[in-house]
């Protein structure tokens, strides 16, 4: 299961709308426990695939190093990644699968149709190695912010 706040959920979807018709991408920082990846922060990342940004993304390892360090300073780990599929379903592709190596992490995909975020799905990368890895559909639990009363 992927748990995240409503504001983070909206933020990663909005990111896809802003970069449309190109794919957006980012890193999810948080904590992993008992089968749950709980997101504390979504960090936008640059898409290195400027040659084909409408259907490809890649996050520079150097940027990951920086984001990981940033997370470490706050006691957070990388628990997942997000990206968008412009005018394409929120479903992992052969390319997504071939390029997925962070076993145990959640891969969140948002379909952005004509500039509007539609479905957002999450997939957990399971397995023990490149030889037996697989994506499993994962429930997204969005925690709504409830305004307090004075």
């Amino acid at each position: 299961m992927l748990k995240l706040s409503e504001s983070i959920y909206n933020a990663l979807r909005t990111h896809g709308e802003e970069t449309y018709p190109h794919e957006c991408c980012g890193v999810l920082l948080g904590r992993s426990h008992e089968g749950v990846n709980e997101v504390e922060e979504a960090v936008r990342a640059g898409n290195m695939r400027t040659d084909s940004a409408h259907n490809r993304y890649s996050i520079a390892p150097q940027e990951l190093v920086r984001i990981q360090r940033q997370g470490r300073e706050r006691g957070l780990d990388i628990v997942g990644f997000y990206h968008s599929h412009p005018d394409h379903p929120a479903q992992w592709s052969k390319t997504d699968f071939a390029e997925a190596h962070w076993i145990g992490c959640s891969y969140v995909i948002t379909a952005v149709e004509k500039g509007v975020a539609r479905q957002t799905n999450s997939f957990l990368l399971t397995g023990t190695s490149e030889d037996d890895k697989s994506f499993e559909d994962e429930t997204i639990q969005v925690e709504e912010l409830v305004a307090g009363r004075c």
């Binding site: 794919e23 991408c25 890193v27 992993s32 695939r49 084909s52 259907n55 490809r56 993304y57 890649s58 996050i59 390892p61 150097q62 990951l64 190093v65 920086r66 990981q68 470490r72 780990d77 990388i78 628990v79 990644f81 990206h83 599929h85 412009p86 394409h88 379903p89 992992w92 592709s93 390319t95 997504d96 390029e99 997925a100 190596h101 962070w102 076993i103 145990g104 992490c105 891969y107 190695s129």
Partner: protein, 91 residues
């Protein structure tokens, strides 16, 4: 020096997020890491002993592949290595 381990590989190092090793070079540090934790080796290196294409190793903020001396680059106690699997994809 410290080697930061990414979340998918922590299961092979006793769930630690970092491992301390003594080494003179980047290559020595990676050898020390896989000597201490042999199960990690096949996830980092191919059968030919080369770093797997999707495994990036950073010495502080520099990609080891692009350093002039690559794995032969000298390291000090205050340096750190980060192992960073690639992240990419697309529709």
């Amino acid at each position: 020096m410290k080697i930061f381990i990414p979340t998918p590989l922590r299961v092979y190092v006793g769930k630690k997020d970092a491992v301390q090793v003594n080494a003179q070079t980047v290559g020595d540090a990676l050898d020390a890491l896989t000597s201490q934790h042999p199960d990690l080796k096949k996830h980092l290196f191919s059968d030919e002993g080369k770093l797997r294409a999707f495994v990036n190793v950073y010495l502080n903020d520099e990609d080891v592949r692009y350093l002039p001396e690559k794995e032969a680059t000298s390291v000090t106690e205050t340096d750190s290595l980060s192992i960073i699997p690639s992240i990419a994809g697309g529709c």
